[in-house]
């Protein structure tokens, strides 16, 4: 586990980073550029939405050692729940959001029961396969657009009020959800439960011999991560007003892992930075050439080969090198 950063050994001044991240996100729409360009507002909304999914993935991957390659499935489930309800004229998120979370949790519980019986590379491949399963199931839902997906008639409402209709309102709603998810994950990591979950990554045999049923703890964590994935999908459907199987393709799952890796695994706030880095980079490279993947692909290879610990790790080591002179 060369990538994982110790959770306890990080310095105090890194507390400043998450605060800064959320301050920037809170103030960004006030900046002039955002006033004129709804495009940037939309981009940052997406950053935060993917930030939630990446956060969830970092939670199980960075703290539990569970490398899931099917996390986009939960994003898809959340999005499709919103979409299918909307197709039947139900948009009130007092109903739709709990259902989206519940369906995600159920899927996580069922697949987790199988996946978590296996280890390492088996786990990667099986989560990948289950993700693909959901992808194909969504593609075969012909009443809901099949492979083409479908447009949402209306963004979610709350008790009948169209609270998310305004882009800026949506932005701040997403920010609140992101902040809540972040704080929740942080709390869990430090809690009794989180300590058991982290211990299970370090040494499952030891954890079993002091009396913990490792599998059950991991499954609960997997369900939590699944719910957050579902939340992210639910918000994504609202932001794009569109759902499609492509939300849960295996490339999406890969991209979520890349976001986590970009930000530096096992930090939580790093996942948000990673999501921002990934989406902004995609946007930027995409602006230069439509074949941006020709640049991006090799870049990934180079990052793996040369920059261990992600962007935060990289800046951290550069910073330390500078300070040492």
């Amino acid at each position: 586990m060369s990538l994982a950063v110790t959770s306890t050994s990080r310095g105090r001044h890194y507390e400043a980073l998450p605060v800064a991240i959320f301050l920037v996100l809170a103030l960004a729409p006030l900046a002039a550029a955002f006033g004129a360009e709804t495009y940037l507002l939309g981009l940052f909304t997406r950053v935060m939405i993917y930030g939630i999914a990446a956060l969830a993935l970092d939670f199980i991957c960075g703290y539990g050692g569970l490398v899931s390659f099917g996390h986009a499935a939960f994003v898809g489930i959340g999005a499709y729940t919103a979409g299918i309800f909307s197709a039947h004229g139900i948009t009130d998120m007092a109903i739709t959001l709990p259902v989206a979370l519940l369906v995600s949790a159920l899927f996580a519980w069922l697949t987790g029961t199988v996946c978590l019986r296996t280890k390492s590379v088996y786990f990667i491949m099986i989560t990948l396969a289950f993700g693909q399963m959901i992808y194909f199931v969504a593609g075969s839902l012909s009443p809901y657009g099949g492979d083409d997906g479908m447009t949402l008639k209306l963004r979610s409402t709350l008790f009948g009020f169209p609270v998310l209709q305004n882009d800026r309102a949506l932005y701040y709603a997403v920010l609140v959800f992101l902040l809540a998810s972040y704080l929740l994950c942080r709390a869990i990591v430090a809690s009794r439960f989180g300590r058991v979950f982290r211990g299970a990554r370090d040494n499952p045999t030891r954890m079993a011999t002091i009396g913990y049923d490792v599998f059950r703890y991991q499954r609960v964590a997997y369900v939590i991560a699944g719910c957050l994935g579902g939340l992210s999908g639910f918000l994504l459907a609202n932001a794009t007003e569109f759902v499609s199987p492509s939300f849960m393709s295996w490339q999406r799952s890969g991209e979520l892992i890349i976001m986590v890796l970009f930000g530096g695994i096992g930090t939580l706030h790093g996942a948000i930075v990673g999501a921002a880095a990934f989406l902004l980079l995609e946007d930027m490279l995409g602006g230069i050439t439509e074949n941006w993947k020709l640049i991006f692909g090799p870049m990934l290879v180079l990052i793996v080969l040369f920059a261990r610990g992600g962007l935060l790790g990289l800046t951290q080591s550069l910073w330390e090198r500078l300070r040492r002179g």
Partner: protein
């Protein structure tokens, strides 16, 4: 020393384990009574660790039965055995490297006190957990190193930490798999003193190569060779047993 009691803490009946064609545990039966320290010695590869793994539940026996306080635990997973009061240390140090010494022990305390399905509230600030953990660390003289990451402890300290983890579980039976392995003479002596202090509080099974430790601590000794018990009895009797002399001690002690 220990009186024969009708209901031993641990009873193993005719345990067998084979890997492919290799029989590693070949019909082992033994008892450990309350408060007794029962040492299991034997040359490397005699199947001592395999035996401990079967008792603690990380390895499934091919046949035979294991009873803890009279209950059949042969089919229980390790965590359920731990809940019933079975604790162990490992031959190759097995701690959580990215947790502090205190946290390593606190996790064991946590397993015994209340639910671990608590998702909020910082576990590292729960004084009930920390105090009990600190007490266990003190018992193995590791209290001054409580905040050091386990990965950064010296080898001897890690062995002591394993012991503290086991203590924090408030065990009825403690399995010690070569606690002295790889420790220097001074550290060994310190560990012997610690173990002497703990003796009598719970039943212990000690697997060890260090004969100084074995003869200083054991109430009873069983000699394991080729997966079978060659001799079992009081230390003096075992030491005098000619079969043991040739098969094990004779060779090793010259």
């Amino acid at each position: 020393m220990a009186e024969p009691v009708p209901n031993p803490v641990l009873r193993i009946e005719n345990l067998r384990k084979s890997f492919g064609g290799l029989v590693v545990t070949d019909g082992v039966s033994l008892d450990i009574n309350a408060g007794e320290l029962h040492a299991v010695i034997g040359p490397n590869g005699a199947g001592k660790t395999t035996l401990i793994n079967q008792i603690s539940g990380t390895l499934e026996p091919s046949s035979g039965a294991i009873y803890l306080n009279g209950d059949d635990i042969t089919a229980l997973p390790p965590n359920r055995r731990a809940e019933r009061g079975l604790a162990r240390s490992f031959q190759i140090t097995s701690v959580l490297p990215r947790f502090s010494a205190l946290e390593n022990v606190a996790l064991a305390v946590q397993a015994r006190s209340g639910s671990s399905y608590q998702f909020i509230g910082r576990a590292d600030r729960e004084s009930a957990l920390n105090d009990a953990a600190m007490q266990a660390l003190t018992e193995v003289s590791l209290d001054s190193r409580a905040d050091i990451l386990a990965a950064h402890l010296s080898h001897g300290e890690k062995r002591a930490l394993e012991l503290a983890i086991a203590l924090a579980m408030q065990p009825k039976l403690l399995l010690l798999d070569e606690p002295m392995a790889g420790t220097g003479p001074k550290e060994s002596e310190r560990l012997i003193v610690v173990l002497q202090r703990l003796k009598g509080r719970f039943a212990m099974m000690l697997v060890e190569h260090d004969m100084n430790a074995v003869f200083a601590l054991a109430d009873r000794i069983s000699v394991l060779t080729y997966g079978r018990i060659l001799a079992s009895g009081a230390p003096a009797a075992v030491r005098a047993d000619p079969a043991v002399m040739t098969a094990y001690l004779g060779e090793e002690l010259e």
